[in-house]
Each structure stands twice: as structure tokens, then as C-alpha cells.
Symmetry: C2
Subunit: 344 residues, 2 copies
């Protein structure tokens, strides 16, 4: 840290940072009566239903500060919440941002973080209306989002019925692959990271995308259950099954593995399918649909968003997940995935 | 940590803890369509306005783990947010709780924290509808609250006008006094801490109370500006003045100093008035009222809540805070108080 940066940091008080926040998030926004800077924000509400969600990102647990810039971190903190809203079939409206600043974060770090938050808010038509600012031993970014949904049109995890088809948007495993590649040592790994495939995997990890329009479309297309794949396909499908009181058969050969993983599989030393099944943070949507509506939903996603929808299995009576292997054999599917407490 | 506690912790996964959360916060709650356990909660909204606020409590910054139990910490995380809602003249409705668990927190720690959160939610008719759970290097408790307010009836910090009277509920300085006493060393300090006055001060620090009914009453009584005293009277009155584009004269002899501070002043070695002016976390309401309405507001608070309302100064043209001393002399009032970034 250069001396003048040091001075800058020492001069940064909470009120000054809040003033910066107010500037970054200023401007008229529909539905906001009172934004950042008071005890609370005031927003207009309509007769109907709102969705509420919150996610916390902790340095060293959810991310490695050497692998993600404060700008990408700010954007990601918004995206993971928007993804939860999308998984309900709802639209994000208002956000609250609470940040603990690590000891070495100067004003520039905060401005970068806020810039990323602002860009993601703009992208998803979300308005930042308030929050809190503190110091801390490591960076913690905690976001809460309020969204809107047409009354009764939200999609939970608990509506999957036997016979429903299991579908997933996009491809899986890229985020976990990018992280694994960034953590791998050696010159081959470094070259792979700099290749087009490697950059694409890393992009998936540091700049994930939330599927808001896709979520609304799946809801309209009759999704009986939906969630976003944040902890890994196997663990998250297990959650839909547990919430719905059903089981599922998953055809592993049909799981849409991120194609870039194939290119770097030797350097990773991990089966790309394992990353697709167990890697978290893809933020794709996992849904169940009546069999008769899968084709319609896939066509709508393709046409409106250029988004692939893949049928990967079927909901069954009973409980538990079964993997149907490429050779037709069944095996129990272990619900391996990302548990945010397992790393303690 | 005993071996069986160690085992208990090792066996605690995110899903198990979420199941605990669901049990603790189960039951039917008005307006909640979908509570904890899905990607987001779904709540009913009315045509009108909502208030949104968030606060983050970081171990070592906002609290010392040797001085507050997980149960009190959980309750306090709710109260500080409810206090922000109260300061708008609004009523709390729904809460989201995000927690980073420190390495040595076992399942019992989490259950205690949740118990405190639950008790505070019950006390303020607030429903916990979701959140997030993570590990972390220290405990972080991040809460967001949504509240309701009659359209256009919220009170901001920016409406104070010259001639308005400055009023404050309750007494000030007790929370800071309790903290100072707990941190003081020596047998005299320990005795003082165990005295009735000491226990009362410590209670103010670990179990603060939010003034929800009082906030609504002050709003109805014509409060032109309002906020809660979280960072200290001087700094917070400075914020009202800055937001309103006015100055203020504060009669220091009229500031309602917590009486218990007088009893332990020698042990503390601090002027009780300084604690009342600069100590944070009292969560009393600081408001400005037209002079003609002060008596009515004070009578209403006393009658309905047994809550004292004290007139402590006047809003002036210009800017800056002036302290009017007991001897009638003026001095500039330094906006000393609690800056959550100053400790870095």
C-alpha cells in the first residue's frame, strides 16, 4: 500500500463512504420514495405478493480474494440473489447491501465493489435502496433482495410430481472448472487458464449470470418445481425431491456438461461430468415440468433468450436419486456438492 | 470444547441447520405464503409503501463475544433493524437473517442465536422468512427487515425546520456505560458491574429495546424529522441537521443522562454527559417537532408507553451544532460518536 493510499484509507469515515454510496446509486428509480441515506428506504408496493431473499458472501469461504476483483465480487453478490428471485419465477426490484470491509480495503476498493454492484443492478433492473457498512477481519458482502411476482404464480421447490421431467438451463460445471483451473499449479494450468476455454470457465466463475427471463418463462410454461443450481446439480435436485416428497432418475449422459471442461479435462484431472454434477455456482435453473410441456418450454427459452433447455431425467415415486449411467445401469446418486459449512 | 460437542459440530451440515431454522421459525404467520426453506420467501403486499433496512453485526467490531451471549446477539441483530424501522414511523413485518458461523460455533451456539432472534421477532411481531448460513473467521450476523407504513406517513431525517424543537425518548448513555464497565479491570469495576446499576447498564448494552410504538406516535404527533440514536446523540443530531440543511442548539443540561451512570461515574472515570452525547447504541428516538406539539407528543408517549420524552434543544437556521452549557455559554458541539470504520 502506497503512503497516499494509506492516507486515503485513514480519512475514510462511514459518513464519507455513505456519501459515495449515495452518489453511485443516485438517480430517480421507479417505485423508490426514499433511497440510501436515511434509517430505512421507502418503496411503493402493489396489492399482491413479494419475494424476499438474502445471501452472504464471505472471503475465504465463498471466494478467494486473489481470484476475484472487488468489482466482480460486488456484481456476483447481486447475481446470486437475483438468481434466487429468478428461481421463484419472480422479478427483482429492490436491494439492500451490507458490507464488512477488510483491514486493507481502501476507498478505491469500496468504489470498485460498488461499481460492480451498480452494474449488476442496472443489468437486472434492480434498485439499490440501502444497507450498512462496517469494518471486519475479512470482506463480507451480504445482500437482500425484494422482488415481485404475480399473485400465486411463484414456483417453489415442493411441487414436483412423479412423471414430471427434470430440466436444466444452459450448461453445468463451468464455474467449478474455472475455480479448479485457477487453483491448479504449474505452467500447463497457467496456459490453460489463458486459453479461450480457460478464460470462459473463469468468466463463468467470477461473472455468473442469473436467468431472470428464463425463470419467468419456465413458470409460465408450467414448471411444477424450480430452484437455481447454486450448490451442485446432485445436491440441489436432492433438495427438490426432499421438498416435494419424491425421488428422481437422472440420465447422466444427458447432463449438459460445459464444453470448455472437455478441453481442459487433462489439466484438471477431474471428470467433467463430476464437476457438472457436483460443482456449485452455475446459477442455471433446475426445474420439473409435466412431460407434455417440455418441448414448448424449450422452444420458448431458445426463441426468447437463446437459452438451451435440456431434459435430464424424470421424477419418480418414492425418494432418493438414481443415476442412470450411459450403459443403462443404475447407481444411487450421491448428493455431493457444496456445503458452506463443510469447510470449517 | 468437549469431544461430543466436537462431533456434534462436525455432523452439522447446512441442510441440517436450515432444518433447525425451519423448526424454530415454523408456524403460521399472517401474510407469509412461503417461509424459510425455498430459494426465496413469498409474502403478501398491500397497495402502499414498505420500508426496507439492513444492519450487519461483526464480531470484534460491533460486539465482543466475551460480553454478549449468542442469544442476546441474535436478539440485538433484530432490535437494531427494528429500531431503524421504528425511526421511520413504520411497523416491522418480515425479516431475513444471514449468519456467518465462527469456527468454534457448534449446533448449540446456532440454536441459542436463533432462539434470541425468535424471541425478538415475537416481541416486535416480526416474521423471519429466510436468509443464508455460512461459515466465517468470526461471527457475522446480517439482518434485513421489511416494514409497513401508511402511504406518505414515514418520517425522514431531512424535514427538520428552524424553530422545531429537538426531543429524545428515554435516557442516553446506558449502553456505552455498560460496555465501558464490562471492559474496565479491577475488583471495584467487577463489584460495580454486579450492582443493580451495573446490571442495568449492561442490560441496556446487550438487550436494547426498539421504540416501535413510540416512533409511530411521534410520527402521528407531527415529527418533522426522526432517527434512532445508534452512533451517539451528537453525531446523529449532526446527521439530521446535515440532511435537513439546518443547524441546532443543544442544551446539554437537559440531555437525559441514564441515572445509573451517575452511580458508577467514579469507576468509569468518564463524565456521564460525555457518554450520553457520544455513546452509541442507545436506540432511543431522536426527533424534531414543531414547538406547539411537543407537550402533546410527550403526554401521548407517557400515557401509552410510560416513555419519557425530553426536549433538549432547538433547530436553527444555518448549519453546525452548538452546545449550550449549563452556565449559558455556547461552544461548538463536536460530532464525536461511533464510526464503524474508525476501528480499522
Amino acid at each position: 500500500m502506497k503512503p497516499n493510499e494509506r492516507d486515503q484509507r485513514a480519512a475514510t469515515t462511514e459518513d464519507e463512504l455513505l456519501a459515495t454510496l449515495r452518489r453511485v446509486f443516485s438517480g430517480d428509480h421507479p417505485g423508490v420514495r426514499l433511497g440510501i441515506g436515511d434509517d430505512a428506504a421507502v418503496v411503493d408496493t402493489r396489492e399482491g405478493q413479494a419475494v424476499l431473499t438474502a445471501d452472504i458472501l464471505v472471503e475465504g469461504v465463498h471466494y478467494d480474494r486473489t481470484l476475484i476483483s472487488p468489482r466482480d465480487l460486488g456484481a456476483k453478490a447481486i447475481v446470486v440473489n437475483v438468481s434466487d428471485v429468478a428461481a421463484m419465477g419472480a422479478s427483482p426490484r429492490f436491494a439492500l447491501l451490507s458490507v464488512a470491509l477488510p483491514p486493507d480495503a481502501d476507498a478505491a476498493w469500496v468504489v470498485e465493489l460498488e461499481g460492480g454492484v451498480r452494474a449488476a443492478c442496472d443489468e437486472y433492473a434492480l434498485t439499490m435502496v440501502g444497507g450498512d457498512l462496517s469494518s471486519g477481519p475479512v470482506a463480507v458482502v451480504s445482500v437482500a433482495v425484494m422482488g415481485e411476482v404475480a399473485p400465486g404464480r411463484y414456483v417453489t421447490r415442493s411441487g414436483a410430481r412423479p412423471g414430471d421431467r427434470v430440466v436444466v438451463t444452459g450448461t453445468l460445471g463451468a464455474s467449478a472448472g474455472g475455480l479448479a483451473l485457477a487453483r491448479a499449479s504449474g505452467s500447463a494450468a497457467r496456459r490453460a487458464l489463458l486459453s479461450a476455454a480457460g478464460r470462459s470457465l473463469m468468466e463463468a466463475h467470477v461473472r455468473p449470470v442469473a436467468r431472470v427471463g428464463e425463470g419467468r418463462t419456465l413458470a409460465v410454461s408450467g414448471a411444477t418445481a424450480m430452484m437455481d443450481v447454486s450448490d451442485g446439480l446432485a445436491i440441489d435436485l436432492g433438495r427438490i425431491c426432499a421438498a416435494s416428497g419424491v425421488g428422481a432418475r437422472l440420465r447422466t449422459a444427458d447432463v449438459p456438461v460445459a464444453p470448455e471442461l472437455i478441453e481442459v479435462r487433462e489439466i484438471l484431472g477431474v471428470d467433467p461430468l463430476e464437476l457438472a454434477l457436483g460443482g456449485g455456482e452455475d446459477y442455471e435453473l433446475l426445474a420439473t415440468l409435466p412431460a407434455a410441456r417440455v418441448a414448448e418450454a424449450a422452444a420458448a427459452l431458445d426463441e426468447r433468450f437463446g437459452c438451451r433447455l435440456t431434459e435430464i431425467g424424470e421424477i419418480m415415486d418414492g425418494d432418493g436419486l438414481t443415476a442412470v449411467e450411459a450403459d443403462g445401469r443404475d447407481r444411487p446418486l450421491e448428493a455431493k456438492g457444496w456445503d458452506h459449512l463443510a469447510r470449517r
